[in-house]
């Protein structure tokens, strides 16, 4: 056993983010249990349920103005950030409150790996249950039904659909990373959730060119009143070019910057 | 003389009376109907292995958990029906105590005191300051709870249990995690309180129990396996004493062996003898006096041959563990046949 000990002691941890695989494995195992089941049921109910209701609804349906894939984009925009905030605000704060953070960090794992595992765990879980499963299901069934009123839905180009899924994932990533970053700054859940939620609200009516052209604000906002997710809807449903493309890059840059900030701040924390 | 009966006669109801108390979490039985009586103004040590149900019992007494069956009463009041009144006469220290982190030590105590006591603002403030000083917290009075170390927090824990001047103190491991100095301080503090309150405390440090308690009970796997005044545990039924002498002692020992209250005198080492007596009261009064009467001998060491509480404790809990295993084996037997 002594010899074995020495062997294992000699095994160098990987250079990049040591411990990430183990930590991520732990995060993802939560999604395989009850949490995954709850999310599967809730997302199916909310997204598919509202899609069905909207599609088959008649004149009294207040959401009758929305079209099929337009609705999908709208529902994603409403629920993805909310879920991301509700879930990720807790990710680090929970470990801090339960005193499990210092315990995990006393293992041969880097602090950055700890933060990245939180981000990736929530991102992968929500991507699978909220975006991928729901998107694919809608992609398959929506074009096959006759709505109660209006024209039948046309199946969008596959590439465009994949691109939209990518962009939704990016927006999801933004809210996850934002919440994680805020939770490295604040000790309490209140401010973390509040700032994320207010930001989400405000982007509904994003003013100013900078916000419109260089953040996802440009992709999801439209007119002041009524649903108007112009850019993404026009791109997906009406096959217009994506405008502005800079919004996508801007959001990606924000995600990277917030991730960097989160890891840097967390690296300085003492337990 | 039974101090327990004397106390009950003198003070009416016992401080704590528990009858047939059961507690079940899901499918696990944690307490299998325990009976317990804590006389007033006694210091009662509550022992038992981890997971035996000590904390559960205490939490039921302070109304944090509901009993599944049976009843518990504090100062004659039922812990479920008269929960608020019961808690008004209890000061409780939980195992992992936590307080509002934004309060200072004085803040916690002032808030707690006002839950129990009425009086003018200045009287209450003076009372809180007294308690702070008694608990040795003077230098920490304005420190925030979040910044206290484990030992300081524990002292605050005892102080907040005592600040309402309750009749009964229920302390779940009051000396856990304390350094030897801190433990001494807490034990001394409790020792001073014994005149004014009934103290019911659990611990794993048997030395503390030996130092402090009058009465003990041992809980194991949800059953009381032993209870009674601590002396009967430590001395056993027959009195045995160990005596070490200096000088020529043969003549004296021969005389001693003849005394009517002496059963036997046996050497255990070169100058040490083990003396078994039949009448402890007589021995306590006469044994040493009979030595001092002899000019040639000098007592170097005299003490009752007590067993350590640890020995007794381990025996008790091991015996029940064995019984439980046997029982489990019995229960499995028929199941296999079926």
């Amino acid at each position: 056993m002594a010899a074995e000990n020495r062997d294992r002691a000699g095994a160098r941890p990987s250079r990049l983010l040591p411990g990430l695989t183990g930590l991520l494995r732990g995060e993802l195992s939560r999604w395989l249990g009850r949490r995954g089941l709850v999310h599967f049921v809730l997302w199916s109910a909310f997204v598919q349920g509202l899609l069905v209701w909207n599609t088959l609804g008649d004149d009294t349906n207040p959401m009758r103005d929305w079209r099929g894939f337009d609705t999908l984009i709208h529902l994603w925009w409403i629920f993805l950030p909310l879920a991301a905030i509700a879930l990720s605000q807790n990710a680090i704060i929970e470990e801090r409150h339960n005193d499990t953070a210092p315990w995990v960090l006393s293992k041969p794992v880097s602090r950055s790996a700890f933060v990245m595992a939180k981000i990736l765990g929530d991102l992968i879980g929500l991507f699978v249950f909220a975006i991928l499963l729901q998107g694919v299901a809608a992609y398959v069934w929506l074009p096959k039904v006759d709505p109660a009123q209006g024209l039948p839905f046309v199946r969008p180009e596959f590439v465009r659909f994949v691109a939209v899924i990518g962009i939704e994932t990016l927006i999801l990533a933004f809210f996850i990373v934002l919440s994680v970053m805020l939770s490295t700054v604040f000790r309490r859940r209140g401010p973390v959730a509040a700032i994320g939620l207010v930001l989400w609200l405000v982007t509904w009516q994003a003013p100013g060119r900078v916000i419109k052209d260089f953040t996802f604000g440009g992709l999801i906002t439209g007119e002041l009143e009524g649903p108007g997710f112009k850019a993404l809807t026009e791109y997906l449903v009406f096959e217009q070019p994506l405008d502005p493309v800079s919004s996508v890059f801007g959001t990606a840059v924000l995600v990277v910057a917030l991730t960097a900030a989160a890891t840097l701040i967390f690296r300085r924390e003492q337990f | 003389m039974s101090t327990v009966t004397a106390h009950i006669e003198a003070h009416g109801q016992p401080a704590i009376a528990v009858h047939g108390l059961r507690k079940r979490f899901g499918r696990t039985d944690v307490l299998h109907g325990i009976d317990l009586e804590v006389p007033r103004n006694s210091v009662f040590g509550f022992l038992g292995p981890n997971g035996a149900g000590k904390s559960t019992t205490m939490k039921i007494l302070v109304g944090l958990l509901r009993p599944t069956d049976g009843s518990a009463a504090v100062c004659g009041l039922d812990t479920v029906r008269d929960s608020v009144a019961v808690r008004a006469s209890i000061g409780y220290l939980p195992q992992d105590s936590s307080y509002w982190r934004h309060l200072t030590v004085r803040g916690v105590l002032a808030f707690t005191a006002r839950r129990y006591l009425d009086g003018s603002r200045s009287d209450l403030r003076r009372h809180v300051d007294d308690t702070i000083e008694q608990a040795g917290l003077s230098s920490l009075a304005n420190r925030r709870v979040a910044k206290l170390s484990g030992g300081e927090r524990q002292r605050l824990g005892v102080a907040q249990a005592w600040v309402g001047r309750p009749e009964v103190l229920i302390l779940d491991e009051p000396s856990a995690g304390l350094d030897p100095e801190g433990r001494h301080e807490i034990l001394e503090l409790l020792d001073r309180l014994r005149e004014q309150a009934t103290i019911f405390f659990s611990t794993h440090i048997l030395e503390d129990v030996e130092r402090l308690s009058d009465t003990i009970a041992v809980l194991d796997r949800g059953r009381i396996v032993a209870s009674g005044p601590i002396d009967t545990f430590l001395m056993g039924e027959t009195g045995q004493y160990s005596l070490t002498l200096n000088g020529s002692s043969d003549g004296f020992l021969a005389a001693l062996a003849e005394a009517p209250w002496v059963d036997s005198v046996e050497p255990t080492a070169e100058t040490t003898w083990n003396i078994t007596v039949t009448d402890r009261t007589a021995a306590e009064h006469l044994l040493l006096r009979s030595v001092v009467g002899h000019r040639d001998v000098q007592v170097v060491d005299f003490r009752p041959a007590r067993r350590s509480l640890e020995e007794i404790y381990l025996e008790l809990t091991e015996a029940t563990a064995q019984a439980a295993d046997d029982q489990a084996a019995d229960e499995q037997g028929p199941a296999v046949v079926e």
């Binding site: 207040p62 959730a193 939620l197 609200l201 | 939980p94 105590s97 006591l117 009425d118 009086g119």
Partner: protein
């Protein structure tokens, strides 16, 4: 125990509610209240920026943008702030500390609500509401850039709009609007307290907390009127109607919601008194 002190005698299940309420109140004052008041003003500024960007001369859109956004911000940030009111006290063990004292369990739950009332009414709704009144009035008066004390008094005292097509609500209507918003916020606080007594996981407390007002909105809009008017969704409908310059009742929806608040709190009290700590 010094002779000058006596034991508290009450054995009521509300014993201790005074001290607990004061402690709750001090959690809100002053910092949280200031942050809420400041965020109300920030929403106002934001709404004006959006309004200006749209080059819209009418006041109606400003009213609509500000109030819809403000109510949403208030609801969500209150949900975020109060998510731990009960649940984190249970999680951290401070609830066990309190309940081991001679404090009635109902007192613990109700103090959470009572302590929040002044903060909600003054800090969340009152102060930003008053400031908004001044700013909206200025927007309605179109063009004045500086304030005088006399002007502010005039705005507060004078209830009618001078500009016919801007439709700033009359003072009484405006106060009614604020009362509706205040009632809604108190309901949110009560619901969060209830959730804290039921749900263990923090994520679920927040998630359900967010879902509850969204559900209310849907009920208010989709359910048949007769049903909707039995729910707190009526308050939301009234708020929307007032800021859209439609006639709407004020008192009735508030009364209905107050009943719901009591039902919610009663549920919380009941659940918490059965909770093992």
């Amino acid at each position: 125990m010094p002779a000058s002190l006596s034991r508290v005698q009450s054995q009521s299940r509300l014993r201790g509610i005074g001290g607990l309420t004061l402690a709750e109140f001090l959690r809100w004052f002053p910092w949280r209240v200031l942050v809420f008041a400041a965020s109300g003003v920030a929403v106002l500024v934001f709404a004006r920026v959006v309004w200006a960007a749209e080059e819209n001369a009418k006041l109606a859109p400003l009213l609509y943008i500000f109030f819809s956004l403000w109510v949403a911000v208030l609801v969500l940030s209150t949900v975020a702030t109060t998510q731990g009111a009960v649940s984190s006290e249970i999680e951290e063990g401070t609830a066990a500390w309190l309940i081991a004292k001679p404090i009635g369990r109902p007192a613990f739950v109700l103090s959470k609500f009572a302590g929040a009332i002044p903060a909600v009414l003054i800090g969340m709704v009152g102060i930003p509401g008053a400031i908004a009144r001044v700013v909206l009035k200025r927007a309605a008066d179109n063009g004045d850039t500086d304030f005088t004390a006399a002007q502010v008094m005039d705005v507060i005292a004078n209830s009618s709009s001078r500009d016919e097509y801007m439709n700033l609500p009359s003072m009484s209507r405006y106060l009614g609007l604020l009362a509706l918003i205040g009632t809604l916020m108190l309901l949110v606080v009560a619901v969060m307290i209830l959730l804290g007594c039921v749900v263990r996981a923090q994520t679920a407390v927040l998630g359900l907390g967010i879902a509850a007002p969204v559900g209310l909105l849907l009920v208010g809009q989709l359910a048949p009127t007769a049903v909707a008017e039995l729910t707190p969704g009526w308050v939301l409908t009234s708020i929307v109607d007032i800021i859209s310059d439609n006639p709407a009742p004020v008192l009735a929806p508030i009364l209905v919601t107050v009943v719901w608040i009591w039902v919610t709190l009663a549920g919380a009290v009941l659940l918490f008194s059965r909770r093992e700590l």
